[in-house]
Symmetry: C2
Subunit: 434 residues, 2 copies
């Protein structure tokens, strides 16, 4: 890496949205502190925006605005990419590396989709790629996985990495709201967007799962390898049934190192109330890491928002800038290979299956024999007399299974749905152990 | 820093106790992985021990053992100090820096007592000093404070940094045990030592508070500036009274940036049950950080034990080793100065005061007027009819104050103790807000 020692470090910021504005505010107002931490002056040389005439926060000097991001990148030692989206962000980052600059980005979609290409370009250029803010906002989980746990072996990571869905599920749990009502409330409060699909269907969490899997296991897990299921089908009844067996429902990003390879998936799951993840309320995020030596670790904080995201970006800016001044390089991800993504059919999990069944003798025996046929064993079964069930002139049967292969569990559920005595498979949710 | 590129990096381990043995086990069994992460071979050149003939784990090659730690240090690129205690650890670390080696240590007593001297020696030598394992075992809080939050401003850190006392208080809370019984249980399970003073009286936590304060505020807070109070006076009745107002009692290391300077203290405190720290059970540790931009962050995990501590040490070894190979330097702590320790009399806090008072009209008015005299206002007051109180032919009065200066609160308590109508000030505990 080219070391910069005789002049200030030139920083280009791409994008001046909420996060960009907060990053610029810190660069301007904390310049003295940041320079001391880096060991060099920091000069903001420009801010690339689409429309230079749009109104901006007064902290942004209008003379710094430019719509020519490419030329700006060419003059920088350090490029802070906060535009979002795949293009032109990808092209600009590759251009930055080609010019020898280091890059800090908060762009989860880009890192999930093009991480390997970006890592390789950084390495070829001897430059840094930092992306702490791309995974869980202010929570320093990328640094923990890349650096703190570099001498350990991670077995599984469970993450609540989407604040919108955690807020919705938390309101459903604590206030007994229906999904639609909780979503509406989240939209009113600004926690959910007008089109909530990316959050609610788990796509945002899946991008983060792909990044976490790649970091945790030093491998390349493409977004397409992440099995993804959102929370729009989760009902009040599911939440109530979970509570009865001592669980809360959370949308989890789960990545795990199994005998067959790396499993990466996003789905709602029953989490025991005693588990640290069960206590993560509102729009907070948390990432729970299980590793060989360290045991269980959890990182908790705000996963979104302008200022928290800016905090993570600035930590990366200081790290990348220190490398330009003192030498050094962020840990290379492309140095590793090996682990491949495993088919999700092979994932081992437990299920809570909620059924409406005919209210007559012998039904439980029928159900139990279908479950047993697939080699799945039952941990607990209970029958509730809910209002929903009596409306349907049926009984509600809630089965929790022991651990089994996802494929066997899926086949079990399909066969249960075929039984005459089963009126409806009301819901199927995975269950996490302590 | 001298870069090592044409040969393996020479690592010396000082001490082969529980942590040392686990670190050596990882260096030996994961050599390939660690080398790939560092980008260089890693050669364990020796293990310094007091008695080379004592029996050791088979993972330690007897030929590597030496009682001449000084000569070993002189031949190393990287020294891993796991002896504990102030001397000879301090002298050996200074000797390592003088020879240009980098140092990883898990020695909290040493870093708390001689941190500034060690930082300066490292900086003068252009070498690294890493000490992740000195604060909260496997929890990467040092890296978070030094690096992730380098572009943020920390206002307060609340830490459960001693597993022994957390286990004892958790048992008192969840199983209703008395302090002595819970301590005995902790000793049986190996969570507490035969002489539990260092843990129970808060000395261990105070050393960690001094380190956290220095890192969080980039300043030098000596151990002597940490006001320290342990948990041996906490009773079952205190725990029950706290529960009645929705709190649990935790031993906290608290460091905060106040108008008057840095406050650093360790004491038992009432934590609201909804606070993330309240959910930290058993011997687990957690560090809760409040910062300007990131907001609230929490880091949770195992604060002690051979393998968790070894995980943190190895993360540091990889970081320091990467710097020897690729260049670069850990953030210097001596680059900052400024904030001074503030007198603990000026700390702002809230109190829960538990009194036994004469059971007659007018007592509450008397008590309230004493509190008001010191400019302290009362948030809540309640009277309980406990068995303890009726035994004493008294009423139990529990007062929770609003925030006030520690000195005014102390004066309030002293005056309350003088009142004729107050039989006894049963306990005084600080209360943390959400």
């Amino acid at each position: 890496m080219t070391r910069v020692q005789d002049r200030s470090l030139r920083i280009a910021v791409l994008g001046a949205g909420v996060v960009g504005t907060e990053v610029i505010r810190s660069l301007v107002t904390q310049e003295g502190d940041l320079s001391a931490r880096v060991g060099s002056g920091l000069e903001l040389i420009g801010v690339a925006v689409r429309d230079t005439s749009a109104p901006r926060d007064s902290v942004i000097d209008p003379a710094l605005l430019t719509s020519d991001a490419g030329s700006l990148v060419d003059r920088a030692d350090l490029v802070v990419e906060l535009m979002g989206g795949l293009e032109p962000a990808r092209t600009l980052i590759l251009r930055a590396f080609a010019a020898g600059a280091s890059v800090v980005t908060a762009n989860k979609a880009l890192v999930a989709a093009h991480g390997p290409e970006l890592y390789e370009a950084a390495e070829a250029a001897g430059a840094d790629l930092y992306f702490e803010a791309a995974v869980a906002g202010a929570i320093p989980v990328v640094r923990a996985l890349r650096e703190s746990l570099a001498g350990d072996e991670i077995s599984r990571v469970l993450g609540i990495v989407n604040g919108t869905t955690n807020y919705i599920l938390d309101e459903m749990t604590t206030a007994g709201l229906a999904f639609d009502v909780a979503l509406g409330q989240a939209q009113e409060l600004g926690y959910a967007e007008a089109d909530p699909t990316a959050d609610v269907e788990g796509h945002d969490a899946a991008a983060k799962a792909a990044i976490i899997a790649s970091l945790a296991f030093h491998t390349r897990i493409p977004l397409s390898a992440v099995a993804c299921e959102g929370i729009s089908a989760v009902t009040k009844e599911d939440v109530a049934a979970a509570a009865e067996s001592g669980h809360v429902i959370k949308l989890l990003a789960i990545v795990e190192n199994t005998a067959g390879g790396v499993q990466a998936r996003v789905h709602p799951a029953l989490v025991p109330t005693g588990h640290p993840l069960a206590g993560v309320h509102g729009a907070f995020n948390a990432v729970f890491v299980e590793s060989e030596s360290a045991g269980e670790l959890m990182f908790y904080g705000r996963g979104a928002g302008g200022r928290p995201t800016a905090s993570a970006v600035l930590g990366d800016v200081v790290a990348a800038a220190r490398h330009r001044v003192h030498g050094g390089l962020a840990p290379a991800e492309s140095a590793y290979a090996g682990l491949a993504a495993a088919p999700s059919a092979d994932a081992l999990t437990r299920l809570q299956i909620r059924l409406y069944v005919a209210d007559r003798p012998g039904v439980l025996a029928q159900v139990a024999s279908v479950v047993a046929k697939h080699g799945v064993s039952i941990e607990a079964v209970r029958q509730s007399d809910t209002a929903q069930a009596s409306q349907r002139d049926a009984a509600e049967l809630i089965i929790i299974t022991h651990r089994a292969r996802q494929a066997d569990l899926d086949a079990t559920v399909a066969d249960l749905a075929e039984l005459d005595s089963v009126t409806e498979v009301a819901s199927v949710l995975r269950v996490i152990g302590i």
